[in-house]
Symmetry: C2
Subunit: 241 residues, 2 copies
């Protein structure tokens, strides 16, 4: 937690917040704050700044906050991921949030096992919790939007074309001859397949919708590695770093 993210319910006055639970524990056990210290804070979907610890007890910390800094620029990226294996899912959500991805779509694919969709980590609360952990790591405030589509064909035929409008659209696919472009720095939609990749039918449907297949070289990356590698390749340091 490099920044404590603040929510409407934390505010007890225009510049006063009370923290309890996880954030309080972190302030006490990891940062080891004392009254009078200042810590980095940010308001969800708002500005960042500093919070001065006014009062500290075992159960709560009261902070006076000054929120005068803009958060980092969001990435102009729509990330469309085949639903990851549960043990990778939380980490991928956190990494996306840390890297500044704000628009995430989880989609089905032939090689996504049905059980992946049953994970409790897909509940709204758990998704939000992991996005917040990613933002607090990065020092960012803008909560990403995550949407799930459990049927591939209706998504690709009915929703995807509109999503791709005005964007460079790519599908990461080891079979293709075009290497992934670098540092586009412009609105992009990127589809990443499951372990084992999209099927040829799925790649064809994604291409019909307007995506261009690109590869990442001879090495096969796990999805949790492919996401940071692709994001880092598509956007330059001042945006994605």
């Amino acid at each position: 937690m490099n920044l404590a993210l603040l929510f409407d319910e934390d505010f007890v006055g225009p510049d006063r917040v009370i923290l309890r639970g996880r954030r309080l524990t972190h302030l006490q056990s990891v940062i080891k704050v004392a009254t009078g210290d200042t810590v980095p804070v940010g308001r969800a979907d708002g500005n960042m700044g500093m919070g001065e610890v006014l009062r500290l007890t075992d159960t709560e910390a009261e902070l006076r906050v000054t929120l005068d800094q803009m958060p980092p620029t969001p990435l102009p990226l729509t990330l469309i991921l085949a639903m990851p294996r549960p043990k990778m899912f939380r980490r991928i959500l956190q990494t996306c949030a840390t890297q500044g991805v704000k628009d995430i779509w989880l989609i089905n694919s032939y090689k996504v096992e049905k059980s992946f969709w049953q994970t409790p980590w897909l509940s709204e609360d758990h998704v939000r919790e992991n996005l917040i952990l990613g933002l607090e790591q990065a020092k960012d405030t803008g909560i990403p939007r995550v949407q799930a589509r459990k049927l591939f064909k209706p998504f690709v035929e009915d929703e995807l074309p509109a999503l791709l409008e005005g964007k460079q659209a790519l599908v990461a696919h080891p079979g293709t001859s075009i290497p992934c472009p670098v540092h586009l720095n412009r609105p992009t939609a990127l589809c990443i397949g499951p372990e084992g990749g999209f099927t040829p039918y799925e790649v064809e449907k994604l291409e019909e919708a307007g995506c261009r297949g690109v590869h990442l070289g001879p090495r096969i990356l796990r999805m949790e590695t492919a996401v940071p590698v692709l994001v880092s390749r598509l956007f330059d340091a001042c945006l994605s770093g």
Copy 2:
């Protein structure tokens, strides 16, 4: 396991290997091979190719192998990492191996907790096991070399200058004004600090040894994200992909 890595002790003839244990289980349970099928194989530190399943029992698989393909080009990178937290360590080793890093140094730093060095995952066997998992994911055969240095100052003063010779030398450090360069594609040494970063004294010592401080933008990445992001930024698709 996108490739079964083969070792001298697996060979029972010039083109015959017998697999047992983890690799056999994977062939049977995940790939579900039958006699006559071919699977991707590679010889540790040697060529890659295909293996034809000649015989399959509950306890072993005999393969006839043809090893006629070169593995992907190794990255010209010396990666110097502050010893990671144990729960991240295995994953970072695997990711490094998957991305083609062949020269890894684990070093101490003020913010590396002493307990990090006590992890059983640092044993030679466990390190090797995780490197192999990373290579089998990537489809690569060259086993990375991993070295540990538990004292910062002797390493930086006595060993580092020689390690940096002929290389672009960088230390990833959020405080600096120079953004990390992209696509150098030439021999590089890269130092990455622990959670919380190198101390100012440590950065100074690394700079004295010849490293230039570079940053990755306003976002603070976990080490397990910083490694793929930096590698992807420093080397182009055909090498690092």
